[in-house]
Symmetry: D3
Subunit: 298 residues, 6 copies
């Protein structure tokens, strides 16, 4: 007789069925950053999750950062990393290092995906003119080659998806003079998700999600309509680094992304669990009239 | 913290990854018959398995019989079902009833698949000229409209697969005069699997698989190369209804099907477990040089 | 010298030229029912007409009923056919029989078309989710599984036409719970013609057409604009079974079908004669501004 | 009641059904010349036949000559037409006139076809590099710009057929220096039929066909296998202008054309009658193993 | 060492780069007429220019006249060319000659293009129903088969461009009765450019361009916005044959052509120089808001 | 009057016509390295040449190295570049730096091409599994992550060319364990040219070409059949770094590349001059039976 363990396995697969069905052939943009990039085991989990999404018919696009690795290499060449208001001051040599390091991280991810039997191509925002930008100022101060996205040309992404590749993007853009700029990876993921009309945008980072009360760990919100998200910000319930992230989520939804997920990259397979099970991991931000899927967190 | 139950779920999905990858966009012919057709719960399981295969990128084709239901309706109109050497004696009225009943069963399956969000089309072997046949004799005796397949025209199946439908076939064929014939569903599944160069052919029926010793329930064989299958028959280790089924398996492999599975339809999700886990359910028949995947049965 | 007989043949073919040209690659929905289904010779004529339309470049779709055959089989299993206001009271067993019998009739037509060298596929309204419906009440009374069409999904028809098949449809639909419903074949033909934007919809039944005066056989109308058709109903000039048929015609034209024909299926090749010659057979219903083609009936 | 005349019309159409089916989407090359080009009524018949073939799904290509019209215009400019062994002596001015006159005839045919609602394009053998040739000598004598075809580039014909045009070709070719050459229209039709793998090649000219005995008008042969055609030539039963025509037929069949027809263009609709009825008009030349369709001439 | 001559060559090619880029895959209609048709060397230059445009990715269409050649042949057959208000009085025999001569000129151009390795197809306005027209009167006087274009069906041009041919058109059209009409080549080029939404329309004729002062040869205008062109006409600065040409230019731009060039066909490669260098040859007419590219004439 | 300077420009463009024609839509692999990478002006020339090739219909692929830049960055992080037999000893940190630096150089080239209006995508040999390799030993000695190509998967290149991108490749590959390896850029260019069946492979480096006598600068060979190239090596006429380069050329031609060019990247536009003029720059290596195009060097 077949024992229970195997029947349970089958049940898990069957349970995923409605989710596979609902999002089949939909584009999912995954912003990958934070601790999940540094821990080899977590990295393996994230990449496997993305590969599984690809194999069951989704169209994932990975956008990644690499801030800590950049700082490490800035140090190696005897320079010092400098930040103003959380933005890296990026002179031309820092810019060169940032581009080199992000490219290296990118190719590691490409190789990992390829090793799992899925075709991947790694590109920057300069390839195919993907991410055009202009200089960003920090409270009026020139902090060098830090860019704000002004235009996304998604042709290269559509072409790679059509040819069955998993695109992996690192956020270096170009301006009118074709100079290079460092772009915030969250912003890049958000702009790309909008441009390709993604069904989902998932931020994998080191936070668990949005809390009703930022001081109460039991108050994690599973699903949040944007009107409520806007109110949380206005009313001061969220703070710090969460505000720009939440604003990104709100903007993405306002521009046509259907659902944005803030996920804890430190939880193994949080992406898979969020998408394939009726267990809400982290916080999902929904359209004003978006239907809630999940029960409260257990 | 996310509890272990959810992490286990993720692991099951990840475990399926290499199997999804290996068989992606491959055609799988599923012969569906026996008790699994009569028990509503088992039926639900089989259909869900087929739908999941479809959704994760396989191209399943279901071929089904309906013997018991035919006999029931033969009874309802006041006739008596008659068999010679296991073959239904099929006069023209029986033929009409067989076609009607199989069509009814077929449309039930179509509706079930459609209700799970996957497009299905039910056809007979007459649609698109799929199954051409000639009269089959039982030891020289004319038993009516019982047919042997002489030619398969798979165009309609390729067309439906291309248009993303799940085809469901019932085994009524036609001869040179376009008269209708009842065909054995195992034979139909086998001939179709050959014609479409299926990667896999799975027989879901009321037997657990092939035994080394038909009297020893612990001797179930997980994987069997065709040369060994031929030997089992020659040496008399298998008998009864197993011989034609095994011959069908051998023939399918000789005509280009890569792997044939004999599965117990009474085990829930046996199809899914066979394909997506490293647990062999039933018996797989392999090419002479086919690689064995599974450990022995536990 | 070539004798006159042959020259006359050539003239008939040449005479068809402008009609072939006008309707080339247009969809023609043929509702096939009544006596023409029971008489083998008439059936042969109808099918040959449809096949000829297919071969000269039209895209015919056949929609058929089978009421008399259903009643026969209801009788065979010892039940009694029951009607309320002309609608068959359809309990679940009657529903099963109706579906089985229509499927049998369908496959006979498929085989006939195939035998003439044209590919055919027979489908019900459940295949590909073609005909969605809801329960129809007869003056508020529940008469079982009798359905009103609420939605047509023509994808399967477009797919089959693209792949060069002649689709043959029998009118069984499904509701929200995927339960089966018997649908009036005239309604199904009408709804399908609307959904595929048919150029023509032809009703082949046991009436000669519409009469100016229902009691005067010499008053058959060749061509009728819908505004005049509406007036005929209002003014009480038509009656009985003609009213719903005429309403179907009016509705079809209101939803984009260009021309609807009411033809007498008992006249051999009435379909061909209506389409390929300047002889009006039966009655054609036209748009408000539709151009009349034919001379009066001789 | 529908009178017999209409039923007879329907029967003629139905009788054409198997022929339409057999040759559907096949290429038919029609060599059009002789008296049928000069008589306006015969011309109308030929063009209508070709248009009907196009509309019912064949792919006709018309190749035409214009010898008598060329001679007329040579005379108009005060020159004299000169022939050696039946070949027009073609100095450069005669060549210019030949090209001009054939182009004029060509555009008349184009307009006629267009007026019947079918798209036509008229081209010479120079357009798209269709007919490459070299100088032809008449028993060693240089007779000017008279060409033998050395190479056919059928791309332009395939392109026009794909885009649903009826191509009409006049036989002016070019040599290595891109000088223009007059080509025999029978040769051009034959070479084109070979290059496009035509199903049929029909010569419409002023002869009734091949006779068993050239002096006995009752001995017209309906169907002739090429081995018998070769024998007729060897044994001297055919003579005069028939020999090169018959050789063209033989060569076309040797190069893959399935059936070649020699038809009397003076019989109205001889093309249509030959193709759509079981009445053999003229003589059909068949492959060695070609099946005979027709009864003897009545 | 590579000498300067070669480096200069490279610079010329590089200089063409932005022009190739700007007009890549755009349609350019070239009206070819005047002296450039009579001088063999100029003809070679024009054709080579068109071929180069084709090879570097443009989609040229050549429209040509042949007035002088027509007059020559009218004379050859002993008739006299007659003009009223600059329009050729075109009786039916003149019409025949015009069509024949234009076809001959057309096929010469086709052969020339083919000899340079580019596929060409020559068509008239009758092929594919390209140019429909009605009789044009000269101040109310019937001057025979002279036509005004009423409708352009560009399908044949799109088809030929798609199949990578260079279409060469001569301006003979047809009316409702499919009679042939002679059309002014400038008008034909203009109507075709509008119908295919050409990027550019270039008139190659025997004038250098538009002058600010028609009596001052140094006042050639390089670029002219249509509002200024209209004003030049109103204010009487241009006169004679320039008015209809300029009106054609204005109309073409009003109907969507981006830029119209009036070029001197007597200057070798004026077409190439106008398109590929920053040297304005002749006069370019621009949209109201069109950007000027060129410096003044040197 | 148009002055001579402009006419000369036109002549240069016309002179390029046969070359554009001959190589239209052919793949040209350009190995770009040496001094031409360091001098900004030379770099601009090379990129403009490649862009012009793209715009006039060729399909260029750029493969580049970056040895000097790698050494510079190895120095920056305080390490020392080490070479054995001309191969860089590549420990894992050197490997990281090599990948980062090549990626940086790659993206600079991408931006340059994009700024000229042509879409470019930069990839490594890891993207799309392009360059698989195994460890290369230097006379049996392990020198780290230096790879020999074992397999090329050109899918990503074909996909990018189909989508109209100019692919720019840097030579980092992967082995069975998906570890990264540094590959010689000449080898990569050669392997890619073979895999995509390039028409041409051009090596742009710091040598003028092959000399008959390596000590006689006037003995530069314009065109060389491979059998003669083999002989030059055997007979000791070429030496040093030329031997592996010449062997690469020979191998490329043996594997189907039609013509290999050794060009001096220090000469401005040497690529353009070699391809578009009848002036041989550098040395072309031809198939055994390849036709020589050029005159001797002047």
């Amino acid at each position: 007789m077949v024992n229970q363990k195997y029947l349970d396995k089958a049940e898990v697969l069957i349970e995923a069925l409605p989710y596979i069905q609902r999002f089949n052939r939909k584009i999912v943009v995954i912003k990958y950053g934070g601790s999940a990039m540094l821990d080899e085991k977590l990295k393996a989990n994230v990449i496997k999750d993305a590969v599984l999404l690809k194999l069951v018919g989704f169209k994932p696009i990975i956008v990644h950062g690499g801030g800590k690795e950049i700082s490490k290499w800035v140090g190696k060449v005897g320079m010092e990393a400098k930040f103003i208001n959380g933005l890296r001051v990026t002179d031309s040599q820092t810019m060169e290092i940032a581009e080199m390091v992000l490219a290296k991280v990118n190719k590691e991810l490409v190789s990992y995906v390829e090793s799992l039997g899925v075709q991947a191509v790694g590109i920057s925002g300069k390839d195919g003119g993907l991410l055009k930008c202009k200089k960003k100022y920090s409270n009026g101060e020139d902090i060098g080659f830090v860019g704000d996205i002004t235009e996304v040309n998604p042709k290269i992404l559509y072409d790679l998806l059509e040819k069955d590749f998993l695109p992996i993007v690192f956020p270096i853009g170009f301006d009118d003079n074709y100079d290079s700029y460092n772009i915030n990876a969250d912003d890049a993921a958000c702009a790309i998700a909008e441009a390709v009309h993604a069904e989902k945008l998932a931020f994998l980072s080191d936070i668990e999600g949005v809390y009703k009360d930022k001081d109460d760990p039991s108050s994690l919100i599973s699903e949040l309509h944007i009107q409520d998200a806007r109110k949380l910000i206005e009313d001061g319930y969220v703070g710090g680094g969460m505000i720009p992230k939440l604003n990104n989520c709100i903007e993405a939804i306002e521009h046509g992304v259907n659902r944005v997920h803030i996920l804890d990259g430190r939880i193994p397979h949080s992406l898979l669990l969020e998408i394939f099970t009726n267990k809400g991991i982290g916080t999902a931000i929904l359209r004003e009239d978006g239907e809630k899927y999940y029960h409260e967190h257990e």
